[in-house]
Symmetry: C3
């Protein structure tokens, strides 16, 4: 019942999968530990990062909850999170599953995955905060994988308060 | 500390694991995106698909919430979901984790995994809907892996309303 | 876009990853199925197992909710769970994701991962019970991987009732 190591489609290459899974694991570790200053480093300089409701995404409506179009804009966001945005702090905890490499081409690796973010506020029980699908494009840059595009398509129209930290 | 590539038990073969993990990732993507018409294609023609409470499963009681015994029955179910079953639509989002290959024999690959399904209804917050364990048998057919048996053993006796979409 | 199989850092070695992921999958299967008597066997004889609030962990405060310092103490805990601790039984279901090998040295494999435990009580809906991060050290012993250290750093100061079963 073994897979043949020959003629494998790239999405099944265990070496590539290890790198992709490691990228997502490091990304979750970064944003859940609150090391927001390291977050833009997961992206290429000319990148897009969007958080968009599923309904808009499926209807082709462009309206996004958050939309950034360069690493510099992500750095601005980090400044906002850590310095200027007034908000009640919370912990978040990602569960990223079903990482699916959908295409490997010269312009990058198309990756999708389900994500679930659990939020924990001070003196409160942990709760489901946001769930949806990552639709990403990953590229190799200086030997490392980075996100050239990250689109977080979330299922709920309702979000308990605002999304402050990176999804 | 590296694993020896020789004399590995099959459950640790990275090439087989890549195929199995890819199967589960594609399955989740299918049922969460609402492409129900593609769902029966994940199964062999003579398959079983069951959704059963943990209590019944552990006591050996056969009573299942859902039990289908062929791909044709799954196709009927899809017809029901999309055409005839009266229900309030909802989004679902799987988190499948801890994929465990328990046995590899000539009759297939025994696979178990934990699953969690988050449900999101219109104008409502996302919520824990159903969680439990997949106890599956996967076989290779025409070069692809398919489910010959899929048993979804869920922890809760109580389910918020009915299970409409595939788990 | 393939990873080079040469000069890979150990954390990206698919063979090692398969073994580590299999360890976590078997651990979850054990503690979620209620086979608590098998739980100490996942640890080395001289091990540490801790469950500690994130706030204490981040401030370097040693106060832990649970702290055991040998396999024998884990066996005592199992005796408590199954024989003496008065508690209302519940099912638990782990979702372990983002397994990240952070270091591979002669003294073991440093592994971190996000975990989420869903609890289901009799006649009740499933609910988020505990979420946080495993910070572990895994070693090879008699050919198998075991936990020499397992630290469960949980996000919430509030826990619905007590943590009875292993996280």
């Amino acid at each position: 019942m073994n897979a043949s190591a020959n003629n494998l489609p790239s999405r099944l290459d265990p070496f590539l999968r290890a790198e992709v899974e490691d990228l997502y694991a490091r990304y979750s570790a970064c944003v859940d530990s609150g090391h927001y200053e390291a977050w833009p480093g997961f992206f290429t300089e000319a990148c897009t990062y969007k958080v968009i409701p599923r309904e808009n995404h499926e209807r082709g409506l462009p309206l996004a909850t958050l939309a950034f179009e360069s690493r510099a804009m992500l750095e601005d966001r980090v400044y906002g999170i850590t310095q200027t945005l007034f908000h009640q702090p919370y912990y978040q905890r990602h569960s990223v599953s079903g990482i699916l490499i959908t295409e490997v081409t010269s312009s990058g690796i198309a990756v999708e995955a389900n994500y679930l973010v659990i939020r924990t506020r001070s003196k409160a029980l942990s709760e489901v905060f946001n769930t949806g699908r990552y639709i990403d494009r990953v590229v190799r840059e200086d030997g490392s994988l980075r996100f050239a595009e990250k689109c977080c398509v979330f299922d709920s129209e309702m979000i308990p308060n605002s999304i402050i930290y990176p999804i």
